[in-house]
Amino acid sequence: MAGLVLRRLALLVPTLLGVATLVFAFLHLVPGDPVEVMLGEWAAPADVAALRADLGLDLPLPVQYVRFLARAAVGDLGDSITFRAPVGRVIAARYPATLELAAAALLLGIGLAVPLGAAAAVRPGSFLDRAVRLGSLAGVCVPTVWLGPLLVLVFSVGLGWLPVSGRGGLAHLVLPAITLGLGMASILVRLTRASMLSALREDFVRTARAKGAPEWRAVGVHALRNALLPVTTVAGLQAGALLAGAIISETLFAWPGVGRLVVEAINARDYPLVQGCVLVIGTSYLLINTATDVLHRLIDPRLRDAD
């Protein structure tokens, strides 16, 4: 088991290196002189030279690359130009808000998807099943950029139940979390339903019934536990994607997280901060995916033996 975890962690290294390389390449993809783009045409020559030296842009490219990697490895992501502070500190101040939002969206997604998907699978073709399938199709098709304003229109403007934007108590969390989590919930509902349908046809469910297990136990314990295996994996993968999806939801609701920070940094042409945000979100995504993979193997003994 320890071997599996170690091997999976070892696989992280080349992937992380690739991610860091991509982030490094960004600054060099900027058309023209990135320093001039960041500071504007009329910046004082001394400032331009100072920033250029600070970013190491006057060094040969391979040296820049190694310097970037060495600094990133110890968490030094450079200084933000707009905040006049270390990028790491700026991001750390915003990160908890994004985690809060993503966690709420994940809970909401799983909380909706598992009961609805399982209930739909127990009676395929029923009214509930049709409603769940239609709902999940709608959830997949409504784009996040529109779902947010639509929810604001109904629940804030129309009904006046929930605040329009900002971060505060639980009420502030509801709309951003639904906006972020509904797409994921729709994917998970479809998966839970399909997985539950095939689990209900398995021999072990028939055996459980034959041995006199009550129906709720055959369905809710024997079938559901097995049906949830693929659901946990996809939920884990989606959890990583939520961190990136948060960019839109945070922008819509003025939620002070890393997602909105990326957009602010892009608008301010604060490239060190853009690089830092992309690196942090990308790394989180990668770590969550790896953890999901390891967890999946821990839960499913068949995979453990096969490995």
């Binding site: 098709c141 990326v262 979100i281």
Partner: protein
């Protein structure tokens, strides 16, 4: 679990929506001469009336005209992105699957790194760095979207390349390019087609998202995502400005989604 009749009906609905979109983007603007760029500051945020069936936006521009021009924009962005990523994906995937060895290893590594990154984040960063323009949006989405097609093609080519019919073609003097193009790719075509259909939907949503965030198509081009963003401050006084592009976007995604689902069922492409 769906019956074949259900699949055919869904395919018909999807195809009808997509066709409607294509007509809205191409033919309708020719018949109804509306200017998506003409401003009328006297009539800012005008409500729907006879002359402007969907009202006017914050600059007094006709919403219907912008919606129709936006359909053309969405469709052409979607089609170009899919074409770019499909071409790159098929060429890279077929090369990796046919050659095997270190080429294959390298391609798989690159795909893993790209998939290890949330696609939207990468597209936002790339589009932001390159600067907002139609070309850069297509470039960013196309350069990131090829991995799925490459995986599919690679798997198919690698699985078939030792089969007897391939050996027969080789014995008859067929080169690798010809064998892959004539004998192997047609077998991968149904799966690629289904993926491309879903790819249209996700490219259109991605373009709208980028434009919404201000790193996509620059103004005054009528991207549906940008229209939603521009309308947000007027949500209370002019909700129709947010509703119109959102409904158009949703129906478009629905069309391609239904079509993709149904094509997958009809051609028996297993979902992975």
């Amino acid at each position: 679990m769906r019956t074949e009749r259900g699949a055919r009906r869904a395919a018909a609905c999807g195809a009808a929506l997509v066709l409607l979109l294509a007509l809205a983007g191409t033919v309708v603007p020719l018949v109804v001469p509306l200017d998506p760029y003409a401003t009328d500051l006297e009539a800012r945020l005008g409500p729907p009336d006879r002359e402007h069936p969907l009202g006017q936006d914050a600059l007094g521009r006709d919403v219907l005209a912008r919606l129709l021009r936006g359909a053309r924009l969405s469709l052409s962005v979607g089609a170009t992105v899919v074409l770019v990523s499909l071409t790159v994906g098929v060429v890279v995937g077929a090369t990796a699957g046919w050659r095997g060895g270190w080429v294959d290893e390298a391609v798989v590594r690159v795909i893993d790194v790209l998939l290890a990154f949330p696609g939207l984040l990468l597209a936002i960063a790339l589009a932001a760095v390159l600067g907002p323009s139609l070309r850069n949006v297509v470039l960013a989405l196309g350069l990131l979207g090829w991995t799925g097609y490459a995986r599919l093609t690679r798997a198919q080519v690698a699985a078939l390349r030792r089969r007897e019919f391939v050996q027969a073609a080789q014995a008859l003097g067929g080169g690798p390019t010809r064998i892959v193009a004539r004998h192997l790719l047609p077998l991968a075509a149904p799966a690629l087609l289904v993926q491309a259909t879903f790819g249209m939907a996700s490219a259109i949503v991605a373009e709208a998202s980028l434009s919404f965030l201000g790193v996509g198509v620059p103004p005054p081009l009528p991207s549906w995502g940008a229209m939603i963003d521009e309308a947000r401050p007027f949500l209370v006084v002019a909700p129709h400005l947010v509703l119109a592009p959102g409904i158009a976007l949703t129906l478009t995604v629905l069309g391609f989604q239904l079509l993709g689902d149904a094509l997958g069922d009809l051609m028996d492409v297993r979902e992975r």
